[in-house]
Subunit: 635 residues, 2 copies
């Protein structure tokens, strides 16, 4: 038997760190995104996404506008809005959601087809160009939204739309060839299976997965010419098997390559399919791929996908800090994938991987005020170069207002607002807490309230409330950068075994029982494998799960002159509630190398002692234009 | 009074290092290039350059083929052939040169116009698009060839063509607006002035220089639309004032920017104009720009122009080793510019700059066998990445056979074959030897034979032969990485003053007098300014003027694991005549960092002692596909 994640509608996040961010989602980000979709934010990139649905419904005249996948912005917003309604019931939002959903229902075609671009612009070309046209991608997001609305917000209207759409897709593709250009439909169908129990949806998802790579040239044979038309303008070559992840069947894949988000959405779907079916070759492929990413393709912040060209993975160990693509969506997708692997592979490292993404690369995608977002998440920025010099056009030193391609903001919103669904899993008589995030969880065995100081302080306290089943095992993952773990049961020190990375306690539980875990947040130096050319000889600093960085505003610009000796002290400064919404800065004993006057001098450069001030990476670029680096020179 | 360079037809290079390379030019490279131009090398990129002239002369039917500036390949070959005829008289080559020149004369139009692209394809558009069409660029090279043929090979046929062309250009542009897109005509006109004494040519060159930047928008206003046509396909934006170096008048320029070769050809012409006219503001601009390049924009190998996008300079200190553009032509042009500055600014550093280019970045452009060339000269190469990963498409790990845009090979050929013209200058009663290159120089005061062991050994021996004027001052530049200088006059140690970087000896000279200078080739560590982000914390090694590098073939791949401590010994190995055409390898005590198993580990990585083998950078990529790096990690 395998663990099953406890769905988010059984969990409420109550956490110093994350609750504030969920409130940011419900109160700022999700309403802001809705305004964007309705083109109500002056000065921001035009979205037109709602207007596109109105036109598809025959209720507005004009031209379709935006990316061919513009619909997905609405779907992802609806998914996030579903979570928002659960987190914070809001009749006004519910009314607006209802309006949006009925609009979508009116835009749906008689046969269940739903895509505004093709309905408005090219009705004759439905499902004709799966490589570039993102119809299945948009559908996948709509299905995710439909499932979330039903499961989390208890609203069934969108589910009816989703069922009609999913049935239409199954009908169209069950017996016809066809693989999605941008993977996502697989996740949507699996979510629909989860909510409706209709096995057709899961089977169709697995069919989409397994068809991929059977004929590497499928996209070459089945992508129609479209002179003068650009579907999103990405210029995706049908013959690029690596990019399209069609080089081999998915069960035979061994290395992450091509478009990072597509790869990771696919792996997320594969992991779930393996979980639902117990299919061993599917599971083995997921384990291999996760291993490959963790050993060869991930940045120290959790960012993945090192090149902006096609937003893709490149060759192993090619992880340039300053030209990093590291799309926010890819780190969100890594979280999805890691969460699925956590219950599939039972390896505690996936929990650390989730933390890596959540506290670093994914979270850095958002400004602290929740209104601006990074698409690209570099590990080093020089405002003189980033966004300006050729090769750095994609790297911005500050988060912009909005993007024409607005995939990342709603992706972060849906992740953060649904965070409760990533915390717990249940397996028979065993419940497992994977993340040190405070919550109230409605488990089959009991209600458990969890308090956590993470990532500020390393403590996690479980209090059992309504006990429904006296005897069960409570497991809590020990994060890899928490040390000196102490446990106490009802205030008395106990020694608990750590099995496979989890503290375990099996007992008869009484209401009011408390299990407290405390530890030290370790300040850790992270040394790259010397094969990572870009950062070999450098060092990064973490405190617990949080990767730190140096910014020019604290250290003066010219960060490449800073040196962090291997033996220098790194001091934790007091928690500062007024700095960057509350952080613990670090101060490291280091040096600043002094320019010798010549561009290349013969003398060992002088250096002077300096204290290097570090802040959490997720909070960078919140204090105006300045340099930033995660990696510091050793020496 | 200023120094004047002694023209190459008064000098014969007799030098262990360079004579062999000049023979490579006369015996291999120049004949090979001619075959390329005549499309006689099977498998190489088609040139069609000679055919284009035949078509322009009405003697062949067909389509123009190649770059819009394809003519310049012929002109640069002719210039190199002129030098070749001087270095090694060859009646067969002379015959072929004559054939080529008469073909060119037949392709020249009645009014003196000469450009095969426009004669064949667009006669109605002559001189209509100066930004993109390279007519003035091709003309400049033709004029350089014409001047060389007359001055060095004593052949006047091409000069007559050149005079007609130059007169035509003066007539067209004297009273008409117009600035060249790609600077070069200015150099050509100055060379014609040097050979003919016709001041109109110099004045026209200065006019082209001074018109530039008067109206930054000139190219915007004067570049015709040409839908469907691509003149070289470079897509140069007329509004890019920096790229086009039209942002300010040339006398007001303060920083190198835009296309590197264009910038440096312009500076070469400016320096000569300042020299010929004594114009102070022109001279000051050259000094400022040279200073800017040396302080902020040059690689440790002498490469310049850090981005392949438009082959351009970028922002200060942005000098990535692995994505370096460093066009061979730009280093050739740096040599031209530095040589001009040497006599204009009387600063011995320009001599070191010439050495930097000659022994490193420029020379690396050529395979040791003289038949293959780099266009791009990176300081770090990983064959897994270079030429493959996005952003590295331009960086090749091996020199290819030929290029569609073949500017670099003939540029190197003309530089190396005319090297004699860079050695000596004369200023009244003073003669100066700027480079430690063996030669026989026919100076106004005497014939002087110079023997040199450079760069293998630091000695330079002058023997005076036919004395025409007893009393004169002999100056010899002391290279900056030669130490422990000893001098002896006719075998007896003398102590000579070093003035402004030059050893000086004024005396009455007798035939047979010898002045010998010896010193030590210093092995030097070069530490970058910490503001050069890409190599801060790293070190490069030089022996005398020669920059060294590590290759995978000597050290195993994975060069980013190598560490060169600041205090480790670096040993000179014996000269190996069989290695890379004869080099002195270096062996440095260092370490190899060992992978810890994790991509980012918590422990200080282990390292093991290793000897790092280094070879001269100019000789890299001559032993098959492997990694290379100039920069090594300190630590």
């Amino acid at each position: 038997m395998r663990d099953r994640l406890l769905p988010m509608n059984r969990v409420r996040v109550l956490d110093e760190f994350w609750s504030a961010r969920q409130r940011l989602m419900t109160d700022v980000t999700i309403p802001y995104m809705e305004k964007i979709l309705r083109d109500e934010v002056p000065g921001a990139e035009k979205s037109h996404a709602v207007s596109n649905f109105r036109m598809a419904a025959g209720e507005e005249q004009g031209e379709f506008y935006g990316m061919v996948f513009q619909d997905s912005d609405v779907a992802k917003w609806l998914e996030a809005a579903a979570y928002s309604l659960y987190l914070k019931p809001d009749p006004a939002l519910e009314k607006r959601v209802d309006d949006m959903v009925t609009l979508i229902a009116r835009a749906q075609q008689e046969d269940g087809y739903l895509n505004t671009y093709f309905t408005v612009k090219e009705p004759e070309n439905r499902w004709a160009n799966l490589l570039e046209c993102h119809e299945l991608y948009c559908a996948g997001h709509l299905l995710e939204a439909a499932a979330a609305m039903a499961q989390v917000a208890g609203k069934k209207e969108l589910l009816r739309v989703g069922i009609r759409l999913a049935d239409h897709i199954v009908e169209c593709f069950r017996d016809r060839e066809g693989i999605p250009g941008h993977q996502e439909i697989e996740i949507g169908l699996e979510r629909m299976y989860e909510v409706t129990g209709n096995r057709e949806y899961l089977d169709m998802a697995i069919r989409f997965l397994d068809r991929r790579g059977q004929d590497p040239d499928w996209f070459m044979k089945n992508t129609p010419a479209h002179p003068g038309r650009h579907y999103g303008g990405y210029d995706i070559p049908p013959e690029d098997h690596e990019y399209n992840q069609t080089d081999v069947p998915v069960r035979e894949q061994t290395r992450a390559r091509g478009h990072a988000v597509r790869q990771l959405y696919m792996l997320t779907a594969m992991a779930r399919a393996a979980d639902e079916t117990g299919d061993e070759s599917m599971r083995a492929a997921c384990v291999r791929m996760a291993e490959h990413i963790r050993r060869k393709q991930i940045y120290v912040t959790g960012a993945v996908g090192s090149t902006g060209r096609h937003e893709a993975f490149t060759v192993d160990m090619d992880l340039p800090a300053d030209r990093c693509y590291g799309e926010t969506c890819a780190s969100v997708a890594m979280t999805f994938f890691a969460s699925r692997m956590l219950t599939l592979d039972d390896d505690p490292e996936y929990g650390d991987l989730m933390e890596l993404e959540l506290y670093n690369a994914a979270l850095a995608g958002m400004q602290l005020d929740g209104t601006r977002f990074f698409y690209v998440n570099p590990l080093s920025v020089d405002p003189e170069i980033s966004g300006k010099v050729p090769g750095y056009e994609h790297v911005l030193p500050l988060r912009p207002e909005w993007y024409a391609c607005a995939c990342c903001p709603p992706n972060l919103a849906r992740l953060i607002s649904s965070l409760g669904g990533y915390l717990w899993s249940v397996n028979g008589q065993r419940v497992s807490a994977h993340l040190w995030i405070g919550s109230e969880a409605d488990l089959p065995q009991a209600k458990i309230v969890t308090e956590s100081g993470y990532p500020r302080q390393a403590y996690l306290r479980f209090t059992v409330r309504e006990v429904r089943q006296k005897r069960f095992t409570l497991r809590a993952r020990v994060p890899k950068r928490v040390g000196n773990i102490q446990t106490s049961m009802n205030g008395e020190t106990v020694s608990l075994p750590v099995k496979n990375g989890y503290l375990e306690l099996e007992r008869d539980w009484e209401p009011g029982d408390t299990l407290e875990i405390t530890g030290d947040m370790l300040i850790t130096r992270l040394y790259p494998d010397p094969g990572v050319r870009d950062c070999a000889g450098k060092v990064a600093i973490a405190r617990g799960p949080v990767i730190y960085c140096a910014e020019g505003v604290d250290n003066g610009d010219g960060l490449s002159a800073l040196i962090l000796p291997d033996d220098g002290a790194i001091t934790e400064l007091p928690y500062d509630p007024n700095l960057l919404n509350g952080v613990i800065p670090l101060e490291a004993e280091g040096f600043r190398e002094k320019p010798g006057g010549e561009l290349y001098g013969n003398d060992i450069p002088d250096k002077e002692k300096t204290n290097i001030r570090l802040i959490p990476y997720y909070a960078w670029a919140n204090r105006g234009l300045n340099e930033m680096t995660v990696w510091l020179r050793r020496g």
